[in-house]
């Protein structure tokens, strides 16, 4: 999760106490690693002088550092206690915690999960592997969990696919990716943490290709196939990608790493996945972005909305580089051009290169370590992303589990703007839609309207908003209405701060008295031109989720998430919200801007969960047309023989 400002829940902006708290724990310069290599007496003496100087200055320097800048720390997904005095230390009980478990998102039966691994489609089954701790609800003892599904929704748990049982993965079977070879067989490359804590790449393959469930996996006896090359830290070498074909017919992979503070992606070519030639150049690098984890690299069509197999290249193709930033825990991507001949990739717009803070994100909420795969069954590229918890580890331990995976999303280039990807929940999720209700409501400025849909913890909402044209015109004619100079979901105060044309949207997971609520909304401002919007656009639109009042509990991180969303001329404002207990996934303008958030209400649970429509704009009347579906459970359960041949249990 977490943008730079996500540490600042709404409450702390109003509370000077938390301001000072923030100062004490925000940005600090990263340290200079001092490697003292002592070779000669000369050096020693020089060193002696240096050290004394450094030592003497240390305290002063420390003070400077504290006030100096608010650095990296602020961007990190983290657990902390909010300083809102109205919020009490919350005694979580099992009734409240049980409600948090999701009904149709992938999560293991219990314990900890993180990165998605090696997703693939084989002989009628979608396979999903995941980083899993079999022993606790916190990270550790990592194995590969495994599940299969006919439709990416109704999952069946299978036995672990890979466990640490060799010296080269004794300390963990970490993240990896699958590649289909030309003969239809499968290779899996994954990172092992060796008995000496060195990160190496290993090869595994299915023992029996005639088994559609791919139950048994064999580790290649010659593992590891790749060790950290010279100049790369032994703990900075992980998460190999799916391989793609070079024009010379070889396979090529990339692996994230760093050199000093520059995030890089190493390139290797291979023919057999056992031996590799390393390129001396990198696929890409961006200074000051830190370690790149879980790099993903894939083509997208400039003209068509179907997905492309990973090896596809050509004139109508753009290439995406995505990396997960270890420093900030944000998944950043950029759009660019890939050059097969020298194995490099160049961003279309260097100002929004991979990992820079103003760059593009799959998701402006909590979403990390994501990975795509090409679904040859339906000709689409599908994105998986890990959505962790925002509560305390005590709560995770008490409820016995931690983390969910987002609903898989199809991902394509926005063929209209060619400047962002568009992500949309896979079509199959609609098979869970039960009863629906249609609404058409006009909401005056400053109103909140209950939306009567019955239970509101498992919903799918699709909505369209229009702002009354005369209101917009008046605002443009009125010079006293300022341009919102630098509106930002994260820092502009959340859903209670009113502007001329917003915020308006839905309050989800709310209780009757609105003591708890999570608003998902648009905020429209008199526009500056944005690098992403059409130049003719007079309005700038932002899409946000405000979790700052989502729960009374204080041992929960409650940021306001969101970002700018491109709205083209003639387009209505549209949003889709998928609610599944403690997770809310929001998609603005057909998936140009997405926000996943985790929320933990204490009152707005079970029968008390409600849905509201609100318009907090000062001047604008808004009309909302929307449809709300009740969502079924996906009944995710362990595989049994009964499940063979049964497409789904609904």
């Amino acid at each position: 999760m977490a943008s730079t400002e996500s540490l600042l829940p709404l409450t702390s902006q109003q509370d000077p106490l938390s301001r000072s708290d923030l100062n004490s724990e925000t940005r600090r310069r990263r340290p200079i690693k001092l490697h003292l290599a002592v070779y000669s007496g000369f050096l020693l003496i020089a060193l002696y002088v240096t050290l004394i100087v450094t030592h003497d200055g240390s305290r002063v320097k420390n003070d400077e550092t504290t006030t100096e800048s608010r650095a990296y720390l602020a961007g990190v997904s983290e657990k902390r206690v909010s300083n809102d005095r109205e919020n009490e230390a919350f005694p979580w009980n099992n009734t409240i915690l049980s409600w948090q478990r999701t009904a149709f998102h992938f999560q293991p039966e219990k314990n900890w999960m993180n990165d998605p691994n090696g997703p693939l489609y084989y002989k009628g089954w979608y396979h999903f592997f995941y980083q899993y701790n079999p022993n606790a609800a916190v990270w550790g003892d990592i194995v590969w969990g495994h599940a299969v599904s006919k439709d990416l929704i109704h999952w069946l748990y299978l036995p672990f696919a890979l466990v640490p049982d060799q010296w080269y993965d004794a300390n963990g079977v970490w993240t990896g990716s699958a590649t289909f070879l030309d003969d239809g067989s499968i290779v899996m490359l994954y990172t092992g943490s060796t008995d000496k804590f060195v990160q190496v790449q290993n090869l595994a393959y299915p023992e029996d290709l005639s088994d559609p469930l791919l139950l048994k996996w064999t580790k290649y006896p010659g593992n590891p196939v790749l060790v950290p090359p010279p100049g790369i830290g032994e703990k900075d070498f992980r998460d190999p990608t799916t391989a793609w074909k070079t024009s010379a017919g070889k396979w090529r992979i990339t692996i994230g790493s760093k050199v000093n503070k520059t995030g890089i992606s190493l390139i290797y070519d291979t023919t057999d996945f056992k031996t590799y030639e390393k390129h001396d150049t990198w696929l890409h690098q961006v200074p000051n972005t830190g370690m790149w984890e879980c790099v993903d690299f894939y083509p997208v069509s400039k003209t068509k909305t179907k997905g492309l197999d990973t090896s596809v290249n050509g004139r109508d193709v753009k290439h995406i580089v995505k990396a997960s930033m270890d420093d900030t825990r944000i998944d950043h991507y950029a759009i660019g051009t890939y050059y097969d001949s020298n194995a490099t990739w160049v961003p279309d717009n260097p100002a929004i290169d991979v990992g820079v803070s103003t760059g593009l994100r799959y998701d402006y909420g909590k979403y990390y370590a994501s990975k795509t795969f090409y679904d040859q069954n339906k000709g689409r590229r599908i994105l998986w992303g890990w959505i962790g918890e925002s509560d305390s580890e005590a709560a995770d331990v008490q409820k016995g589990w931690s983390s969910v995976q987002g609903i898989p999303r199809t991902v394509v280039l926005d063929t209209k703007t060619k400047k962002t990807l568009v992500q949309w929940p896979i079509k199959e999720i609609e098979s869970l839609r039960l009863t629906s209700k249609k609404f058409h409501m006009k909401v005056e400025p400053g109103t909140v309207v209950p939306v009567e849909v019955g239970p509101a913890a498992q919903l799918d909402i699709e909505a369209e908003f229009t702002i009354k044209k005369s209101d917009v015109d008046i605002i443009f004619g009125d010079d006293s209405v300022d341009t919102d100079k630098e509106f930002s979901c994260e820092t502009s105060g959340g859903s209670t701060v009113r502007g001329a044309l917003g915020p308006f949207g839905f309050s989800v997971l709310a209780d009757q008295s609105l003591s708890e609520q999570t608003p998902v909304y648009f905020y429209v401002t008199k526009g500056k031109d944005s690098k992403l919007s059409g130049k003719d656009s007079k309005l700038s639109t932002f899409f946000c989720t405000d979790t700052s009042r989502s729960t009374k509990a204080n041992d929960v991180v409650k940021p306001v998430y969101g970002s700018f969303v491109p709205v083209l001329k003639g387009e209505k404002l549209t949003m889709r919200i998928i609610i599944d207990h403690s997770i809310v996934e929001a998609f603005g303008q057909g998936g140009r801007t997405c926000i996943s958030s985790r929320v933990y209400p204490t009152n707005a649970i079970y029968g008390a969960t409600k849905l509201y429509l609100f318009n907090n704009a000062i001047d604008a009347t808004v009309t909302a047309s929307f449809k709300v579906w009740q969502m079924n459970s996906a009944f995710i359960h362990p595989f049994s023989a009964d499940d063979l041949g049964v497409p789904s249990r609904t």
Binding site: S24, R29, R30, P31, V81, F90, N171, S392, E393
Partner: protein, 159 residues
């Protein structure tokens, strides 16, 4: 011989300076230095070694606090409910945060270590607030928050 002596002196200077250098980048230099210098492993540890020492200090402090909580049950029965919550929170520090942090720092995935270290401070704060201003554990809570902040800063150097 003189050279050897000088070399030894140099090494000692450089060792203490590794701690100083690291602690300068934390929010509490004095606490950081005193904790690390008090540990025999401190003088020869690298950055992850220093982080592990501090996680150990979190463990020691949590154990001590848990003993204190157990003692208070008898002395202050009126605080039973808050103490019960505190006991659960400190057990989380010992049984979840600390092992998670140790494993993550040792294995070279410090961001999961950061989770455990931050959470130790969170759990202590939650415990404290349960007393609604009448906490018998305030100084222990503050110590945990401070160690958590210092340790976190060092864990981030490993990212």
């Amino acid at each position: 011989m003189k050279m050897v002596m000088m070399f030894m002196v140099m090494m000692m200077v450089s060792e203490s300076s590794m701690i100083d250098q690291t602690c300068k980048e934390t929010p509490d230099f004095n606490l950081c230095v005193s904790l690390l210098n008090s540990d025999p492993r401190g003088s020869s540890a690298d950055t992850s070694g220093l982080a592990l020492i501090l996680v150990d200090k979190i463990k020691v402090l949590a154990t001590k606090t848990l003993h204190e909580i157990n003692g208070l049950y008898k002395k202050r029965p009126e605080l039973k409910q808050a103490l019960g919550e505190c006991s659960r929170r400190y057990k989380t520090i010992l049984n979840a945060d600390v092992p998670e942090a140790i494993e993550a720092i040792s294995k070279g995935v410090p961001k999961f270590g950061e989770d455990g270290v931050i959470d130790a401070g969170v759990e202590a704060s939650v415990c404290e607030e349960g007393f609604k201003g009448k906490s018998p554990l305030t100084s222990l809570t503050k110590s945990m928050q401070k160690i958590s902040n210092v340790t976190r800063a060092i864990v981030r150097m490993l990212l």
